[in-house]
Amino acid sequence: MNRWAVEAYDLVKTYGNGKVRVYALRGVDLKVKQGEIVSIVGPSGCGKSTLLNILGGIDKPTIGRVFVCGEDVTAMNEAELAHFRLKKIGIVFQFFNLIPTLTALENVELRLAASGCGNGVRKDKACELLARVGMNGKEGRKPSELSGGEQQRVAIARALANNPAVVLMDEPTGNLDSITAKDLITMIDKLNAQGQTFVIATHDSSVKESTDRVITMRDGVVIDG
């Protein structure tokens, strides 16, 4: 069994073409063990989000390779990437990004449904996931009827649907007050106890302190960690 949940080799990401090229990543190497909680820190524009997007198969690197649980993400076609994101990766965004027309339960159900989970089982699983993030009793509420912290919990429950090997979080506390952010960190610790790997891009020092390892980035390269 591969002991690395995430492996990235010599990742380069550039934007633009011709004479004007902007380097978002300049040769990033990274390894994250299974079950590890890693935070990626660094100033805005240092490439944290770009790195997370590439690890999650949302974006492609210009050069370099990424393996998640031993599978070469960079070699996958569009359909395989969608399936990979569905089964292996959970993503939590800074702005929650819930589907506004769906309830909390349906937002979680959607990911389960996409992987072919049957109606009855799907509802039970979604309820269980929402209960794990402390959202029981609010399953029928739409995102507009939830606070920022609650929306982020639903987003985490959605990310955990299908039991992904790796959960990627991009500034998960960026839009939360300090108390809610603290609750979220405690929750991540609890969830990690069940063996999931967390890679968290953050500016928040309290998040950074609660992780197993801190990777520091600057100008598209890893300078520490």
């Binding site: 359909a79 990979f84 569905l86 965004f93 589907i99 769906l102 959607l110 299908n162």
Partner: protein, 400 residues
């Protein structure tokens, strides 16, 4: 090498399987809520389909009614090789008549085997304005089947009613009904019920020719003479002889009528199909526009769906279902309004315009209208849905 060929095959199957499975209940509720979220736009797109389908159903029902009415007319003359009418008579107009003595003169022509004289006019039967036809001999019920009662053999004031008129006026054999023409009114007794292949005749009344002449003050006049000829090769010769008997009449061959009707029907159908197609294309462009606007507004949502792992097929299904729902609603309302308008046209034509334009609405037209709405919505919704699903997740997520 990471994984064997077999593992790769298994993974591909999993990818295909998961890309197809998304329960319709969830997709349907997403599609419905998105339509409700953009109410005005959804209503306008649906309205486009409604206009297209209403036009299509109404025009088809009218054209179908007209052609079946005409074909019914012709079929009711089946067995007669020639039809003699007034020169100015168009499509068996009920205004122009010819002298009755022509019947005797035609019967003396060698080769003529049988003749039927008819007088058609509009009258009010009970409360309903409809066609009243006088015939002689009464034994010759050409193209009609007596389904109840007996033929007009006894009293001059006996009548036969068409099955539709019987239903409409709740008539029974033995009932007495007043028939009023602009000139006189008489009580008639229903002695039988007939069925024909013409919706017009099924709503008509048949009486004796002499009684009809009295009722309409058309003494010694008839509308039509139906002539049977011994051998088909004699038709042209007899036609020429009849035309030579007197002026002011025209003699039409049965096959010529059928051919003309068929040509007219084909022409009308082509025209109506073009009109319906144009309105449906306009409706389709409306749907496409709505779906493109929706795609642009929901770019970020598409990015989220892609980021959480939904496949291209699943996203196409979500968007396509929205346009199909527009088609379903538009189709249902269109079919309903089309039926109402068709019936209204028939009602106005019969009761206010004094014409007898019958519409023919059937499940074929209604289902065709509904299926066309679905097809139009699916075809015009497919491209925007495909464009939405083809967005890269990064591009979509960056959209503000």
């Amino acid at each position: 090498m990471k994984g064997s060929h077999k593992e790769k095959e298994g993974r591909t199957f999993e990818v295909i399987k998961s890309s197809l499975t998304l329960p319709y209940s969830l997709e349907l509720s997403m599609a419905l809520r998105n339509l409700v979220r953009r109410k005005i736009r959804s209503i306008l797109a649906t309205f486009g389909v409604v206009i297209g389908i209403t036009t299509m159903v109404t025009l088809s029902a009218v054209s179908n009614g007209m052609s079946s009415q005409m074909v019914g007319w012709v079929r009711s003359f089946m067995g007669s090789d020639l039809v003699v009418t007034h020169t100015d008579s168009e499509t068996f107009s009920i205004q122009e008549n010819i002298p009755e003595d022509l019947v005797k003169r035609i019967s003396s022509i060698d080769g003529v085997t049988s003749l039927t004289a008819e007088l058609d006019n509009a009258a009010t039967v009970g409360e309903v304005r409809t066609l009243v036809r006088g015939i002689r001999p009464v034994e010759e019920l050409r193209g009609l089947t007596l389904v109840e009662g007996v033929n007009l053999l006894e009293s001059p004031y006996d009548m036969l009613v068409g099955v539709d008129l019987k239903r409409e006026c709740s008539l029974r054999v033995g009932d007495t009904v007043k028939i009023s023409s602009p000139h006189s009114a008489k009580e008639f007794r229903v002695v039988g019920v007939f069925q024909s292949q013409s919706s017009l005749l099924d709503r008509a009344v048949i009486i004796r020719l002499e009684t009809a002449q009295e009722l309409f003050r058309a003494k010694n006049l008839v509308s039509l003479i139906l002539v049977d000829v011994r051998e088909p090769k004699m038709i042209n010769e007899i036609k020429r002889q009849i035309e030579g008997l007197t002026g002011g009449v025209k003699v039409i061959r049965q096959d010529a009528i059928i051919k003309t009707i068929q040509q007219g029907k084909d022409l009308l159908e082509t025209f109506l199909l073009s009109v319906s197609s144009i309105s449906l294309i306009i409706a389709g462009v409306g749907i496409m526009n709505t779906m493109f606007m929706s795609m642009v507004e929901r770019k970020r949502e598409i990015g989220i769906l892609k980021a959480i792992g939904l496949s291209r097929t699943q996203i196409v299904k979500i968007f396509l279902l929205e346009s199909i729902l527009i088609g379903v609603f538009g189709g249902l309302i269109g079919v309903l309004l089309g039926s109402i308008f068709s019936k209204a046209i028939e009602y106005v034509s019969l009761n206010y315009l004094g014409t007898s334009l019958f519409v023919s609405l059937n499940w074929g037209i209604l289902s065709f209208g509904f299926i066309l709405a679905l097809l139009c919505a699916s075809v015009f919704g497919l491209y925007p849905s495909w464009r939405a699903a083809s967005l890269s997740p990064m591009e979509a997520l960056r959209y503000e």
